[in-house]
Amino acid sequence: MKNDGASAKVVLSAPDIGRTLARLAHEITEKNPDCSNLVLVGIITRGVPLAARLSEKIKEINGIEIPVGALDVTFYRDDLARKGPNLNASPTNITFDITGKTVILVDDVLFTGRSIRAAIDAIMDLGRPGKIQLAALLDRGHRELPIRADYIGKNIPTSRDERVMVKLREVDGEDAVFVTGAENG
Protein backbone atom coordinates (compact mmCIF):
# COMPACT_ATOMS: atom_id res chain seq x y z
CA MET A 1 0.00 0.00 0.00
CA LYS A 2 1.27 3.47 -0.92
CA ASN A 3 0.50 5.21 2.35
CA ASP A 4 3.99 6.56 3.00
CA GLY A 5 4.17 8.74 -0.09
CA ALA A 6 4.99 12.46 -0.01
CA SER A 7 1.31 13.38 0.06
CA ALA A 8 0.60 11.47 3.32
CA LYS A 9 -0.26 13.89 6.12
CA VAL A 10 -0.43 12.80 9.75
CA VAL A 11 -3.66 14.08 11.27
CA LEU A 12 -3.47 12.16 14.56
CA SER A 13 -0.29 10.91 16.26
CA ALA A 14 -0.15 8.05 18.77
CA PRO A 15 -0.51 10.39 21.82
CA ASP A 16 -3.35 12.23 20.02
CA ILE A 17 -5.21 8.93 19.59
CA GLY A 18 -4.73 8.11 23.30
CA ARG A 19 -6.04 11.52 24.39
CA THR A 20 -8.94 11.37 21.95
CA LEU A 21 -10.05 7.96 23.21
CA ALA A 22 -9.78 9.17 26.82
CA ARG A 23 -12.07 12.08 25.95
CA LEU A 24 -14.53 9.79 24.18
CA ALA A 25 -14.59 7.50 27.24
CA HIS A 26 -15.49 10.52 29.42
CA GLU A 27 -18.22 11.59 27.01
CA ILE A 28 -19.66 8.06 27.07
CA THR A 29 -19.76 7.95 30.88
CA GLU A 30 -21.32 11.45 31.00
CA LYS A 31 -24.06 10.53 28.58
CA ASN A 32 -24.68 7.14 30.20
CA PRO A 33 -24.45 7.62 33.98
CA ASP A 34 -25.57 4.03 34.52
CA CYS A 35 -22.69 2.35 32.73
CA SER A 36 -23.75 -1.10 33.91
CA ASN A 37 -26.17 -1.30 31.00
CA LEU A 38 -23.57 -0.46 28.35
CA VAL A 39 -21.95 -2.78 25.85
CA LEU A 40 -19.30 -1.82 23.29
CA VAL A 41 -19.42 -3.43 19.85
CA GLY A 42 -16.50 -2.79 17.51
CA ILE A 43 -17.01 -3.03 13.76
CA ILE A 44 -14.45 -5.40 12.26
CA THR A 45 -11.56 -4.74 11.68
CA ARG A 46 -10.32 -1.59 13.43
CA GLY A 47 -13.44 -0.83 15.44
CA VAL A 48 -12.67 -3.85 17.63
CA PRO A 49 -9.38 -2.68 19.21
CA LEU A 50 -10.87 0.81 19.57
CA ALA A 51 -13.85 -0.66 21.48
CA ALA A 52 -11.46 -2.63 23.71
CA ARG A 53 -9.44 0.52 24.47
CA LEU A 54 -12.59 2.51 25.26
CA SER A 55 -13.65 -0.25 27.65
CA GLU A 56 -10.27 0.01 29.44
CA LYS A 57 -10.54 3.80 29.70
CA ILE A 58 -14.08 3.61 31.07
CA LYS A 59 -12.86 1.14 33.68
CA GLU A 60 -10.16 3.63 34.70
CA ILE A 61 -12.86 6.28 35.14
CA ASN A 62 -15.52 4.41 37.14
CA GLY A 63 -14.23 0.88 37.69
CA ILE A 64 -17.01 -0.67 35.61
CA GLU A 65 -16.02 -3.32 33.11
CA ILE A 66 -17.95 -2.85 29.86
CA PRO A 67 -18.21 -6.01 27.72
CA VAL A 68 -16.69 -5.77 24.23
CA GLY A 69 -17.90 -7.60 21.12
CA ALA A 70 -16.86 -7.74 17.48
CA LEU A 71 -19.32 -7.27 14.63
CA ASP A 72 -18.75 -8.38 11.02
CA VAL A 73 -21.04 -6.30 8.80
CA THR A 74 -19.89 -7.73 5.44
CA PHE A 75 -23.01 -9.80 4.88
CA TYR A 76 -25.26 -6.81 5.56
CA ARG A 77 -23.57 -4.39 3.16
CA ASP A 78 -25.43 -3.00 0.15
CA ASP A 79 -22.31 -2.54 -1.97
CA LEU A 80 -21.13 -6.15 -2.11
CA ALA A 81 -21.50 -6.27 -5.86
CA ARG A 82 -19.14 -3.30 -6.24
CA LYS A 83 -16.45 -4.09 -3.70
CA GLY A 84 -16.40 -7.89 -3.76
CA PRO A 85 -16.26 -10.08 -0.72
CA ASN A 86 -13.40 -10.04 1.75
CA LEU A 87 -12.40 -13.64 2.39
CA ASN A 88 -10.16 -13.00 5.35
CA ALA A 89 -12.19 -11.01 7.86
CA SER A 90 -13.05 -12.47 11.27
CA PRO A 91 -16.53 -13.60 12.24
CA THR A 92 -18.94 -11.77 14.52
CA ASN A 93 -18.11 -12.51 18.15
CA ILE A 94 -20.64 -11.19 20.62
CA THR A 95 -20.85 -13.50 23.62
CA PHE A 96 -23.35 -11.46 25.65
CA ASP A 97 -27.05 -10.77 25.26
CA ILE A 98 -27.69 -7.32 23.80
CA THR A 99 -31.44 -7.23 24.43
CA GLY A 100 -32.34 -4.17 26.50
CA LYS A 101 -28.72 -2.92 26.52
CA THR A 102 -27.33 0.35 25.30
CA VAL A 103 -25.10 -0.79 22.46
CA ILE A 104 -22.32 1.60 21.49
CA LEU A 105 -21.11 0.81 17.99
CA VAL A 106 -17.44 1.70 17.54
CA ASP A 107 -15.82 2.34 14.16
CA ASP A 108 -12.59 3.98 13.06
CA VAL A 109 -13.86 6.26 10.29
CA LEU A 110 -17.39 7.53 9.73
CA PHE A 111 -17.73 8.21 5.99
CA THR A 112 -20.79 7.44 3.85
CA GLY A 113 -22.71 5.88 6.75
CA ARG A 114 -23.34 2.67 4.83
CA SER A 115 -21.26 0.50 7.19
CA ILE A 116 -23.20 1.91 10.12
CA ARG A 117 -26.52 1.17 8.42
CA ALA A 118 -25.29 -2.40 7.87
CA ALA A 119 -24.09 -2.58 11.50
CA ILE A 120 -27.47 -1.44 12.84
CA ASP A 121 -29.19 -4.16 10.78
CA ALA A 122 -26.68 -6.75 11.98
CA ILE A 123 -27.21 -5.76 15.63
CA MET A 124 -31.00 -5.93 15.25
CA ASP A 125 -30.67 -9.54 14.04
CA LEU A 126 -28.84 -10.45 17.25
CA GLY A 127 -31.42 -9.06 19.66
CA ARG A 128 -33.38 -5.96 20.58
CA PRO A 129 -31.12 -3.37 22.15
CA GLY A 130 -32.63 -0.62 24.30
CA LYS A 131 -30.55 1.99 22.51
CA ILE A 132 -27.85 2.09 19.87
CA GLN A 133 -25.23 4.85 19.95
CA LEU A 134 -22.29 5.44 17.66
CA ALA A 135 -18.68 6.32 18.47
CA ALA A 136 -16.19 7.03 15.68
CA LEU A 137 -12.54 7.99 15.98
CA LEU A 138 -12.86 10.17 12.88
CA ASP A 139 -15.66 11.77 10.92
CA ARG A 140 -14.57 12.62 7.40
CA GLY A 141 -17.98 13.74 6.09
CA HIS A 142 -19.60 12.78 2.77
CA ARG A 143 -22.60 11.05 4.32
CA GLU A 144 -24.95 9.24 1.93
CA LEU A 145 -27.47 8.27 4.61
CA PRO A 146 -29.10 10.20 7.46
CA ILE A 147 -26.66 8.88 10.09
CA ARG A 148 -24.68 10.80 12.72
CA ALA A 149 -22.31 9.83 15.50
CA ASP A 150 -22.97 10.37 19.22
CA TYR A 151 -19.24 10.56 19.97
CA ILE A 152 -16.65 11.82 17.49
CA GLY A 153 -12.91 11.83 18.14
CA LYS A 154 -12.03 14.31 15.42
CA ASN A 155 -13.70 15.89 12.43
CA ILE A 156 -11.41 15.92 9.42
CA PRO A 157 -12.62 17.70 6.30
CA THR A 158 -11.62 15.64 3.29
CA SER A 159 -12.36 15.55 -0.39
CA ARG A 160 -14.11 12.41 -1.59
CA ASP A 161 -11.11 11.01 -3.39
CA GLU A 162 -8.67 11.43 -0.50
CA ARG A 163 -7.92 8.36 1.60
CA VAL A 164 -8.02 8.26 5.37
CA MET A 165 -5.70 5.59 6.78
CA VAL A 166 -6.11 4.55 10.40
CA LYS A 167 -3.32 2.47 11.87
CA LEU A 168 -3.70 0.82 15.26
CA ARG A 169 -0.97 -1.07 17.09
CA GLU A 170 -3.16 -4.16 17.62
CA VAL A 171 -3.61 -4.52 13.84
CA ASP A 172 -0.84 -2.51 12.19
CA GLY A 173 1.86 -2.32 14.87
CA GLU A 174 1.60 1.47 15.32
CA ASP A 175 -0.92 4.16 16.20
CA ALA A 176 -1.43 6.94 13.63
CA VAL A 177 -3.97 8.47 11.29
CA PHE A 178 -2.93 9.71 7.86
CA VAL A 179 -4.72 11.45 5.06
CA THR A 180 -3.30 10.76 1.63
CA GLY A 181 -4.10 12.55 -1.59
CA ALA A 182 -6.01 10.93 -4.41
CA GLU A 183 -4.02 8.07 -5.83
CA ASN A 184 -3.00 8.36 -9.43
CA GLY A 185 -4.77 5.96 -11.72
Binding site: M1, D72, T74, F75, Y76, L80, A81, R82, K83, G84, P85, N86, L87, N88, A89, S90, P91, T92, N93, D121, D125, L126, G127
Partner: protein, 313 residues
Protein backbone atom coordinates in the same frame (compact mmCIF):
# COMPACT_ATOMS: atom_id res chain seq x y z
CA UNK B 1 -10.12 -2.59 0.11
CA UNK B 2 -7.55 -4.07 -2.20
CA UNK B 3 -9.08 -6.92 -4.13
CA UNK B 4 -6.98 -10.04 -3.77
CA UNK B 5 -7.09 -12.63 -6.57
CA UNK B 6 -9.01 -14.77 -4.10
CA UNK B 7 -12.23 -12.83 -4.46
CA UNK B 8 -12.78 -13.69 -8.11
CA UNK B 9 -15.39 -16.36 -7.54
CA UNK B 10 -18.26 -14.29 -8.92
CA UNK B 11 -19.99 -15.97 -11.82
CA UNK B 12 -17.70 -19.00 -11.73
CA UNK B 13 -18.91 -22.57 -11.58
CA UNK B 14 -17.95 -25.06 -8.89
CA UNK B 15 -17.62 -28.32 -10.79
CA UNK B 16 -14.75 -29.99 -9.00
CA UNK B 17 -11.89 -29.41 -6.60
CA UNK B 18 -9.54 -29.47 -9.59
CA UNK B 19 -10.77 -25.97 -10.48
CA UNK B 20 -9.58 -24.56 -7.14
CA UNK B 21 -6.14 -23.54 -5.92
CA UNK B 22 -4.95 -24.21 -2.36
CA UNK B 23 -5.43 -20.49 -1.58
CA UNK B 24 -8.97 -20.60 -2.91
CA UNK B 25 -9.77 -23.62 -0.73
CA UNK B 26 -8.44 -21.76 2.33
CA UNK B 27 -10.42 -18.67 1.28
CA UNK B 28 -13.60 -20.75 1.07
CA UNK B 29 -12.92 -22.31 4.49
CA UNK B 30 -12.27 -18.86 6.03
CA UNK B 31 -15.49 -17.53 4.55
CA UNK B 32 -17.45 -20.57 5.74
CA UNK B 33 -16.07 -20.13 9.26
CA UNK B 34 -17.70 -16.72 9.39
CA UNK B 35 -21.07 -18.30 8.65
CA UNK B 36 -20.89 -20.90 11.45
CA UNK B 37 -21.97 -18.33 14.02
CA UNK B 38 -25.14 -17.51 12.06
CA UNK B 39 -26.51 -21.02 12.62
CA UNK B 40 -26.07 -20.55 16.40
CA UNK B 41 -28.27 -17.47 16.45
CA UNK B 42 -31.89 -17.18 17.44
CA UNK B 43 -32.61 -15.47 14.11
CA UNK B 44 -30.66 -17.64 11.67
CA UNK B 45 -30.77 -15.29 8.74
CA UNK B 46 -28.58 -12.86 6.86
CA UNK B 47 -29.91 -10.52 4.15
CA UNK B 48 -26.90 -11.16 1.88
CA UNK B 49 -28.59 -12.97 -1.04
CA UNK B 50 -31.95 -11.24 -0.85
CA UNK B 51 -33.60 -11.35 -4.27
CA UNK B 52 -31.40 -14.21 -5.55
CA UNK B 53 -32.86 -17.53 -6.65
CA UNK B 54 -31.11 -20.87 -6.12
CA UNK B 55 -32.43 -23.97 -7.88
CA UNK B 56 -31.58 -27.43 -6.52
CA UNK B 57 -31.90 -29.87 -9.39
CA UNK B 58 -31.49 -33.39 -8.02
CA UNK B 59 -31.59 -36.48 -10.23
CA UNK B 60 -30.50 -38.76 -7.39
CA UNK B 61 -31.88 -39.25 -3.91
CA UNK B 62 -30.26 -37.03 -1.30
CA UNK B 63 -31.30 -35.78 2.09
CA UNK B 64 -28.15 -34.25 3.47
CA UNK B 65 -26.78 -32.39 0.46
CA UNK B 66 -30.12 -31.11 -0.79
CA UNK B 67 -31.29 -30.01 2.66
CA UNK B 68 -27.89 -28.49 3.36
CA UNK B 69 -27.99 -26.37 0.17
CA UNK B 70 -31.59 -25.42 0.87
CA UNK B 71 -30.87 -24.31 4.43
CA UNK B 72 -27.70 -22.53 3.29
CA UNK B 73 -29.61 -20.57 0.64
CA UNK B 74 -32.44 -19.72 3.01
CA UNK B 75 -30.12 -18.55 5.79
CA UNK B 76 -28.72 -16.08 3.25
CA UNK B 77 -32.28 -14.95 2.32
CA UNK B 78 -32.14 -16.47 -1.19
CA UNK B 79 -35.26 -18.10 -2.60
CA UNK B 80 -34.53 -21.81 -2.94
CA UNK B 81 -36.46 -24.09 -5.26
CA UNK B 82 -36.04 -27.88 -5.09
CA UNK B 83 -36.65 -30.03 -8.12
CA UNK B 84 -36.21 -33.78 -7.99
CA UNK B 85 -36.19 -35.96 -11.10
CA UNK B 86 -39.19 -37.93 -9.88
CA UNK B 87 -41.37 -34.83 -9.73
CA UNK B 88 -40.03 -33.08 -12.85
CA UNK B 89 -40.80 -33.24 -16.56
CA UNK B 90 -37.93 -35.71 -16.91
CA UNK B 91 -40.46 -38.43 -16.22
CA UNK B 92 -42.45 -37.11 -19.21
CA UNK B 93 -39.41 -37.67 -21.43
CA UNK B 94 -37.86 -34.19 -21.40
CA UNK B 95 -34.10 -34.30 -22.02
CA UNK B 96 -31.65 -33.08 -19.41
CA UNK B 97 -30.61 -30.21 -21.68
CA UNK B 98 -34.20 -29.06 -22.18
CA UNK B 99 -34.84 -29.23 -18.44
CA UNK B 100 -31.81 -27.02 -17.74
CA UNK B 101 -32.63 -24.61 -20.57
CA UNK B 102 -36.16 -24.21 -19.26
CA UNK B 103 -34.95 -23.57 -15.74
CA UNK B 104 -32.33 -21.15 -17.08
CA UNK B 105 -35.10 -19.19 -18.82
CA UNK B 106 -36.53 -18.44 -15.39
CA UNK B 107 -33.26 -16.64 -14.57
CA UNK B 108 -31.97 -18.37 -11.46
CA UNK B 109 -28.76 -17.04 -9.88
CA UNK B 110 -27.30 -20.48 -9.15
CA UNK B 111 -28.06 -24.04 -10.17
CA UNK B 112 -27.06 -26.93 -7.91
CA UNK B 113 -27.03 -30.21 -9.83
CA UNK B 114 -26.78 -33.77 -8.62
CA UNK B 115 -26.82 -36.45 -11.27
CA UNK B 116 -25.74 -40.11 -11.53
CA UNK B 117 -23.74 -39.42 -14.72
CA UNK B 118 -20.24 -37.92 -14.35
CA UNK B 119 -19.80 -34.64 -16.21
CA UNK B 120 -23.45 -33.63 -16.14
CA UNK B 121 -22.83 -30.39 -14.19
CA UNK B 122 -19.98 -29.50 -16.59
CA UNK B 123 -22.31 -30.06 -19.54
CA UNK B 124 -25.05 -27.97 -17.91
CA UNK B 125 -22.58 -25.15 -17.20
CA UNK B 126 -22.17 -24.60 -20.97
CA UNK B 127 -25.72 -23.29 -21.34
CA UNK B 128 -27.12 -22.66 -17.84
CA UNK B 129 -26.37 -18.94 -17.96
CA UNK B 130 -25.62 -18.85 -14.22
CA UNK B 131 -23.11 -20.44 -11.84
CA UNK B 132 -23.49 -24.23 -11.70
CA UNK B 133 -22.54 -26.03 -8.50
CA UNK B 134 -21.83 -29.73 -8.66
CA UNK B 135 -23.80 -31.43 -5.91
CA UNK B 136 -22.33 -34.82 -6.82
CA UNK B 137 -22.03 -36.38 -10.28
CA UNK B 138 -21.71 -40.15 -10.43
CA UNK B 139 -18.34 -41.40 -9.23
CA UNK B 140 -16.66 -38.18 -10.43
CA UNK B 141 -16.76 -35.34 -7.92
CA UNK B 142 -18.52 -33.87 -4.92
CA UNK B 143 -16.66 -30.62 -4.34
CA UNK B 144 -18.75 -29.14 -1.51
CA UNK B 145 -18.29 -32.38 0.46
CA UNK B 146 -14.51 -32.16 0.10
CA UNK B 147 -14.59 -28.48 1.06
CA UNK B 148 -16.63 -29.12 4.21
CA UNK B 149 -14.26 -31.98 5.04
CA UNK B 150 -11.28 -29.61 4.73
CA UNK B 151 -13.12 -27.11 6.94
CA UNK B 152 -13.79 -29.79 9.59
CA UNK B 153 -10.20 -31.01 9.53
CA UNK B 154 -8.82 -27.45 9.74
CA UNK B 155 -10.94 -26.77 12.79
CA UNK B 156 -9.26 -29.67 14.61
CA UNK B 157 -5.80 -29.52 13.08
CA UNK B 158 -5.33 -25.80 12.30
CA UNK B 159 -3.37 -26.73 9.17
CA UNK B 160 -3.95 -29.05 6.24
CA UNK B 161 -0.25 -29.44 5.52
CA UNK B 162 1.42 -32.85 5.47
CA UNK B 163 -1.38 -34.87 7.05
CA UNK B 164 -1.46 -38.67 6.99
CA UNK B 165 -4.82 -39.52 5.51
CA UNK B 166 -6.50 -42.93 5.18
CA UNK B 167 -9.50 -43.19 2.87
CA UNK B 168 -11.28 -46.48 3.46
CA UNK B 169 -14.15 -48.28 1.76
CA UNK B 170 -15.74 -48.32 -1.67
CA UNK B 171 -13.17 -46.12 -3.40
CA UNK B 172 -14.32 -47.35 -6.82
CA UNK B 173 -17.75 -45.72 -6.66
CA UNK B 174 -16.82 -42.78 -4.44
CA UNK B 175 -16.91 -39.21 -5.71
CA UNK B 176 -16.20 -38.17 -2.13
CA UNK B 177 -12.87 -40.03 -2.28
CA UNK B 178 -11.91 -38.45 -5.61
CA UNK B 179 -12.73 -34.89 -4.57
CA UNK B 180 -10.95 -35.30 -1.25
CA UNK B 181 -7.84 -36.80 -2.83
CA UNK B 182 -7.77 -33.79 -5.15
CA UNK B 183 -8.10 -31.41 -2.18
CA UNK B 184 -5.57 -33.16 0.09
CA UNK B 185 -3.04 -33.26 -2.75
CA UNK B 186 -2.96 -29.48 -2.75
CA UNK B 187 -1.70 -29.61 0.84
CA UNK B 188 0.93 -32.34 0.36
CA UNK B 189 -0.92 -35.02 2.31
CA UNK B 190 0.29 -38.62 2.44
CA UNK B 191 -2.79 -40.46 1.27
CA UNK B 192 -3.50 -44.16 1.64
CA UNK B 193 -6.60 -45.67 0.08
CA UNK B 194 -7.92 -48.95 1.40
CA UNK B 195 -10.70 -51.32 0.38
CA UNK B 196 -11.38 -54.68 -1.23
CA UNK B 197 -9.67 -55.21 -4.59
CA UNK B 198 -13.06 -55.33 -6.29
CA UNK B 199 -13.91 -51.85 -4.96
CA UNK B 200 -10.53 -50.28 -5.81
CA UNK B 201 -10.07 -48.60 -9.19
CA UNK B 202 -7.06 -49.66 -11.25
CA UNK B 203 -4.03 -47.35 -11.45
CA UNK B 204 -4.78 -45.45 -8.23
CA UNK B 205 -1.04 -44.75 -8.01
CA UNK B 206 -1.56 -42.25 -10.84
CA UNK B 207 -3.25 -40.06 -8.22
CA UNK B 208 -0.08 -40.27 -6.12
CA UNK B 209 -1.74 -42.32 -3.39
CA UNK B 210 -0.70 -45.55 -1.68
CA UNK B 211 -3.01 -48.55 -2.01
CA UNK B 212 -3.51 -51.20 0.63
CA UNK B 213 -6.12 -53.84 1.33
CA UNK B 214 -5.34 -54.05 5.03
CA UNK B 215 -7.24 -51.59 7.21
CA UNK B 216 -4.65 -51.84 10.03
CA UNK B 217 -1.92 -50.80 7.65
CA UNK B 218 -4.04 -47.94 6.29
CA UNK B 219 -4.86 -46.52 9.73
CA UNK B 220 -1.31 -46.84 11.12
CA UNK B 221 -0.19 -43.32 12.14
CA UNK B 222 -3.16 -41.62 10.47
CA UNK B 223 -4.21 -38.06 11.34
CA UNK B 224 -7.43 -38.30 9.37
CA UNK B 225 -9.48 -41.43 8.69
CA UNK B 226 -12.04 -40.83 6.03
CA UNK B 227 -14.63 -43.59 5.90
CA UNK B 228 -16.75 -44.12 2.80
CA UNK B 229 -20.24 -45.54 2.75
CA UNK B 230 -20.56 -49.08 1.51
CA UNK B 231 -23.56 -49.22 -0.77
CA UNK B 232 -25.33 -52.47 0.00
CA UNK B 233 -26.61 -52.63 -3.58
CA UNK B 234 -23.00 -53.32 -4.67
CA UNK B 235 -23.32 -56.73 -3.06
CA UNK B 236 -25.91 -57.69 -5.68
CA UNK B 237 -23.30 -56.85 -8.33
CA UNK B 238 -21.02 -59.49 -6.85
CA UNK B 239 -18.34 -56.99 -5.79
CA UNK B 240 -18.14 -58.47 -2.32
CA UNK B 241 -19.63 -61.68 -0.97
CA UNK B 242 -21.45 -60.56 2.16
CA UNK B 243 -21.79 -57.58 4.48
CA UNK B 244 -20.44 -59.76 7.28
CA UNK B 245 -17.29 -60.55 5.36
CA UNK B 246 -16.88 -56.90 4.39
CA UNK B 247 -17.25 -55.68 7.95
CA UNK B 248 -14.92 -58.32 9.34
CA UNK B 249 -12.10 -56.89 7.20
CA UNK B 250 -12.94 -53.22 6.62
CA UNK B 251 -15.01 -52.03 9.57
CA UNK B 252 -13.44 -49.19 11.55
CA UNK B 253 -13.80 -50.25 15.18
CA UNK B 254 -11.95 -49.30 18.36
CA UNK B 255 -9.41 -52.07 17.81
CA UNK B 256 -8.39 -50.59 14.45
CA UNK B 257 -8.44 -47.07 15.92
CA UNK B 258 -5.60 -48.01 18.30
CA UNK B 259 -3.30 -47.85 15.27
CA UNK B 260 -4.18 -44.22 14.53
CA UNK B 261 -2.62 -41.17 16.16
CA UNK B 262 -4.16 -40.47 19.60
CA UNK B 263 -5.69 -37.23 18.28
CA UNK B 264 -6.83 -38.67 14.95
CA UNK B 265 -10.20 -37.69 13.55
CA UNK B 266 -12.74 -39.87 11.80
CA UNK B 267 -14.93 -38.46 9.04
CA UNK B 268 -17.81 -40.01 7.11
CA UNK B 269 -19.92 -38.31 4.43
CA UNK B 270 -23.05 -40.14 5.60
CA UNK B 271 -25.37 -41.89 5.67
CA UNK B 272 -23.47 -44.30 7.89
CA UNK B 273 -24.09 -48.05 8.03
CA UNK B 274 -23.51 -48.84 11.69
CA UNK B 275 -21.66 -52.08 12.24
CA UNK B 276 -20.76 -52.43 8.54
CA UNK B 277 -18.10 -49.83 7.65
CA UNK B 278 -17.94 -48.18 11.06
CA UNK B 279 -18.76 -49.44 14.55
CA UNK B 280 -21.19 -47.42 16.68
CA UNK B 281 -18.45 -47.06 19.27
CA UNK B 282 -16.25 -45.17 16.79
CA UNK B 283 -19.09 -43.32 15.04
CA UNK B 284 -20.30 -41.90 18.37
CA UNK B 285 -16.89 -41.73 20.03
CA UNK B 286 -14.29 -39.06 20.68
CA UNK B 287 -12.54 -39.39 17.32
CA UNK B 288 -15.70 -38.86 15.32
CA UNK B 289 -16.41 -35.49 13.66
CA UNK B 290 -19.29 -36.86 11.59
CA UNK B 291 -21.94 -34.49 12.93
CA UNK B 292 -19.54 -31.53 12.81
CA UNK B 293 -19.25 -32.28 9.10
CA UNK B 294 -23.01 -31.86 8.72
CA UNK B 295 -23.00 -28.58 10.66
CA UNK B 296 -20.06 -27.30 8.62
CA UNK B 297 -21.79 -28.41 5.44
CA UNK B 298 -24.39 -25.67 5.84
CA UNK B 299 -21.73 -23.01 6.50
CA UNK B 300 -19.60 -24.17 3.57
CA UNK B 301 -22.57 -24.12 1.18
CA UNK B 302 -23.44 -20.64 2.44
CA UNK B 303 -19.87 -19.60 1.58
CA UNK B 304 -20.10 -21.19 -1.88
CA UNK B 305 -23.44 -19.55 -2.69
CA UNK B 306 -22.26 -16.22 -1.29
CA UNK B 307 -19.02 -16.19 -3.27
CA UNK B 308 -20.51 -17.45 -6.55
CA UNK B 309 -23.67 -15.33 -6.61
CA UNK B 310 -22.89 -12.48 -4.22
CA UNK B 311 -19.36 -11.48 -5.13
CA UNK B 312 -17.89 -8.76 -7.30
CA UNK B 313 -19.05 -8.24 -10.86
Amino acid sequence: MVDSPLVNFKGRHLLGIDDLSADEIIGLVNTANRFVEVSEREIKKLPTLRGKTVVNLFFEPSTRTRTSFEIAGKRLSADVINISAQSSSVVKGETFKDTVLNLASMRPDALVIRHPSPGTPLYASKFAGCPVINGGDGAHAHPTQALLDMMTIMERRKSLKNLNVAIIGDVLHSRVARSNISAFKRFDANITVCGPKTLMPAHMDNFGVRVTHDIYEAVEGADVIMMLRIQTERMAQGLFPSLREYSSRFCLDSKVMKKAKPDAIVTHPGPINRGIEISSEVADGKYSVILDQVTHGVAMRMAVLYLLCGGAD
